[in-house]
Amino acid sequence: MRGTTERALPPNEVPQACQHLVEKGARLQMAYAWFPESGGHPEVLYLADQGPYQPFSLLRCRLSEGSDGLPSLATNIPLLGWYEREMTDLCGISFQGHPELRPLVLHEGAHPPIPPLDPRYPKGEMIPYTEEPWDLPPVEGSDVQMLPFGPVRGDVLESAQIVFYYVGEAILHCHPRLFFKHRGMEKRFEGLSPALGTLIAERISGVDSVAHALAFCQAVETASQCEVPERARYLRTILAELERLYNHLHYLGHLCHTTTLKVGEAQGKLLAEQCKQLNGVFTGSRFLRGLLKPGGLRRDLDLRALAARLRALEPDIAGYMAALENTNSHLDRLITTGHLPHQTAFDQGATGPIKRASGIQHDLRCDHPYAAYGRLSMEIPLRTEGDAHARSQVRMEEIRNSLALLLRALEDLPEGPVDTEIAWPTGGEGLGWCEGPRGSIYYCVHFDATGKLARVKVKSASFSNWRVFPFTVHDTNMMDYAINEASFGLTMAGCDR
């Protein structure tokens, strides 16, 4: 696969090879499977980040006749746990010795005749589903109560269910049941031309439209060995930072909602609204959709007046964040809440601002620059406290940095074309990535012999962070739950896909 250094291995050598990567300081980023030929055996791929400016490492393992799956790596490399369960549900691959052998992406009661990602799965046929009891951890002790909350929750929230095991105010254990919103998005890419694939990528997670479309387009461009013109690179950077800006402002407003700071909530959401309106005025879409395409941008943008509008917003944003940091009632609810230790963050696969608030210095924009990030200097905020306050501070710092990056990129924005010819490769493969507002996003794109998409794997930031989140909830209390969840800034759509 272009964009990686790869090695093919037989199943029994995979554990050792992964372990070796980890010992060398690499961090596994995801694993997925696909079916290179219809009716053939699946291939399992493991992607690892080997450090700044190093190529990504890809281990490939083709299963063969008679092989009954792979040894599970989830015990030694816990962040792989969910990826393995996803492969079991969607590709029918078994992982021996997996510590949590229960369905993840497909719910109990969903029984597809063949795995849905098998190319032979009948197109458009819905999985037969009858409700079945859930596989939940058993309750012991007469004082322990179980409370399933959701999937339809208060306010306007995305659907998810959180099962609490609690005694009085104290939460003993938290068991999120997710994937109510699993829409089978990866399958939707199959057979499409990459131009239309971008529209699907934009709809994996609406508030991360640019990040997903960008990672997808870059994967296609890498597979096609296409060089995107300089102006398009800058414009992409600007769009990605505009997305971060409105997301992070909304995040701060929502966090205030959970700490019941009403004016702070109103102000954060108003600032987010103003940013979305800027998006609308300058790009035609409040979600910055319909702009990216493989090869560049669909049309040029006139952003001459944007810098002045951003500068006008800057004092409001700075004043707002300063006021938040001066409000004891708000800070009291955040400090020490939802503590995520460095080691747990690393082992369980935390990403984005969550990981940077727990002392892991990593940002794809700096470590593996794409678009125009390599030409722009930037600082990556880091906190080590790992609590809700640190998570919000990282985001505040990122807001400041985004504004600075935006102004810089607008100043340096070169003239020239915004797209280039691109020929879809037949049978090619490519890796693309992007540091979205919520963390790292990876796309692996496989083409078929006619230049159509054969398989697209989407690794979203929220998939990683939902895996981590419960570790900060066990042994806490009900009062802090909503604040803690808000401090993670998760989406369901991205996680469930």
């Binding site: 719910h107 969903a110 597809p112 799965y121 458009g124 819905m126 999985i127 589903y129 409700e131 999937p151 339809v152 306010d155 306007v156 929230l157 995305e158 659907s159 109510f180 919103k181 699993h182 829409r183 089978g184 998005m185 939707r188 499409l192 131009a195 239309l196 529209l199 709809r203 994996i204 997670s205 609406g206 508030v207 909304h250 407003g253 700071l261 009403k262 004016v263 702070g264 109103a266 102000q267 959401k269 108003l270 609204e273 979305k276 309106q277 609308g280 005025v281 300058f282 035609g284 409040r286 979600f287 319909g290 669909r298 049309r299 006021a323 409000t327 009632s329 989406t491 369901m492 759509a493």
Partner: protein, 268 residues
């Protein structure tokens, strides 16, 4: 909390005058669904239909020549058709108020049978005065629609001032507002929520996913929106519909605004 009281007062009123002042521009620059001018359409050109991912553009074999059909209920506003059309038969527009009571009104029709102005079968205004309580259910969205629904309560749109509220319990809700194309796992909870609502109750399909499936309908885990699962009273396409369109649709339900689109045409 004096610092925030002061902060709020200094900030002043941030709310838009719309819909009170009709001409206040709510969404400058935001592209809506494409405008269609069939007389510009060239024979035997299928450029637009080929790029339309959700299949909103169809070719209908008419008497002799082919005719283009557009179903705005399927359109995700991706603008690809406007970019591919060689003759500007499809053009970008800022048209946003596409909320309708009959699904057919979203399908572009050659002739407009002038239908009498529709009253909602159950006169909702009589039932609730001018107030409305909404229970929202996300039945499998991309969260774009939620993001805009959440925006309705920000100080700019300030939905409360119109007497419209989101309520946590379906027992207090008059309107079930559904987003997403309805996944197999959300179908049950969606029906349960509806069944928990007291009568009379209304259902609104918000966003192209909920109206028809849009870009995410079908496949191994999704239905094609709410139709056929619950009786829908108002359809609001758009991917996502912008907040103004959402408010307009809510006012339409309350008989406090007129429907703009009929037979796929904007009212003059």
């Amino acid at each position: 909390m004096p610092i925030w009281t002061l902060y709020g007062m200094k900030r002043g009123i941030a709310t838009t005058l719309w819909p009170g002042k009709e001409n206040a521009k709510v969404q400058p620059g935001v592209l809506g669904l494409p405008r269609f001018q069939p007389d510009r359409c060239q024979d035997n050109c299928r450029a637009c239909a080929e790029v339309c991912l959700p299949g909103a553009i169809g070719i209908e074999a008419g008497s002799g020549d082919e005719r283009l059909t557009i179903d705005y209920g399927k359109c995700i506003g991706c603008q690809l058709c406007t970019e591919s059309c060689p003759n500007d038969a499809l053009t970008k527009s800022e048209d946003w108020a596409f909320g309708v009571q009959n699904r057919e009104d979203l399908v572009w029709a050659e002739a407009l049978a002038s239908k009498p102005a529709q009253e909602l079968t159950k006169n909702i205004q009589k039932c609730f005065g001018r107030s409305l309580h909404i229970r929202h259910v996300d039945a499998g969205s991309c969260n774009g629609c939620e993001s805009e629904l959440q925006a309705l309560n920000n100080p700019y749109y300030n939905l409360h001032r119109l007497g419209i509220f989101f309520t946590p319990s379906p027992r207090f809700a008059d309107l079930l507002l559904v987003t997403g194309s309805v996944t197999y796992a959300m179908r049950g909870p969606l029906l349960e929520t509806y069944n928990a609502m007291p009568e009379p109750r209304w259902v609104m399909a918000m966003g192209t996913c909920a109206v028809s499936g849009g870009a995410t309908g079908g496949g191994y885990s999704c239905a094609h929106g709410v139709e056929g699962i619950l009786p829908v009273d108002i359809y609001v396409p758009g991917c996502p519909p912008n907040p103004a369109a959402m408010i307009h649709a809510l006012l339409l339900l309350l008989n406090r605004a007129a429907q703009f689109v009929q037979g796929g045409h904007l009212a003059k």
